[in-house]
Chain length 193, copies 2
């Protein structure tokens, strides 16, 4: 259910077309909440039906349509309600730690590949999040710039601080996973001796 709030978070900054939204999404909130366009377009339509956003339809050339979405007062309220409501935490479902718990069933080589892959995966994520952290620090992310442009001076510090803090948390988690993976490789070394 968080997809719509991720979308509202972007649209609250200012109206965007589905296409632009989807592009901006991938470069901002998508680092925290991934969604493909095949999920974004239908969700936007549902949000229109529920009155959270409205579409201004523009024609493109002869037959093309371009829908520019903006948040309605109901959508604004829904977003703020969500921000105040307790978050629902999903039950744990962790394939990597599941597999790790049963690695005795496989060969040392495939256990090694597993940890190497784990490290590589999280190094990829780490890179993304560190890059984003730099873009936040240097205020060079497009959505953040747009956000700050419509934010009163007094709230700019907070706005940046929270985004920075969120990505810091993700960076630390990635580092933790990488450290765990490396210790997994060391464990294999010890067990093979």
């Amino acid at each position: 259910m968080s997809l719509r709030y991720a979308l509202l978070a972007l649209l609250r900054v200012g109206p965007l077309s589905g296409y632009d939204l989807q592009k901006q999404f991938a470069q901002s909130v998508g680092h925290v909440w991934h969604a493909p366009d095949s999920q974004i377009y239908p969700e936007l339509r549902k949000m229109v039906q529920e009155g959270l956003i409205e579409a201004e339809e523009q024609t493109r050339g002869e037959r093309g349509i371009r829908r520019v979405y903006h948040v309605t007062p109901a959508g604004e309220r829904d977003f703020l309600d969500w921000m105040e409501a307790p978050l629902d935490y999903q039950r744990v479902r962790d394939p990597a730690h599941l597999r790790a718990a049963y690695l005795e069933a496989t060969t040392p080589e495939s256990a090694r590949r597993f940890f190497e892959r784990h490290i590589a995966e999280w190094e990829g994520e780490l890179q993304q999040w560190e890059d984003e952290l730099v873009r936040i620090e240097t205020v060079s992310n497009a959505m953040l710039i747009r956000r700050l442009a419509v934010t009163p001076e007094a709230e700019r510090e907070r706005t940046i601080a929270f985004k920075h803090f969120a990505y810091e948390g993700l960076v630390e988690r990635a580092r933790g996973e990488i450290a765990w993976g490396r210790r997994g490789l060391e464990l294999l070394d010890r067990l093979e001796r």
Copy 2:
């Protein structure tokens, strides 16, 4: 798709009825991969259809049925194949960090509640995982005892080591989340000044 491998991991140790499996699940692999019984029973049926497990039907009293499942050679192979195959990592979808990135939209009080809840959630998980870690160290988990009973002496160390290592990773992640939550509260203190 990991549910069936979590189930196979348990059934590989020895045959269990759906009910027993579901109970053992909650006390072992369920700490890493949660699944409710309403998901376990249908999955077992599907696995029977696909030939990964077989059910020995026992009567209970007049009309009751009890199905005791055991892994077939095809199921064993499927499990080992999964253990060797690269794990598929899901794209990030993290409601807590999503919300954290937009906390400027809400009141300091509700931001505070958010971090307090985050800490409490992860402290709950931490407790579960630490308890399980102790049960692994002291070899007092029922499934682990059963597992070791059918494991040759030479592989017992590995078996325990991997489970211990998996839960260690989870414990560290929980500690990381708690530390992040606490730093969130400190950030709020600083911003409110």
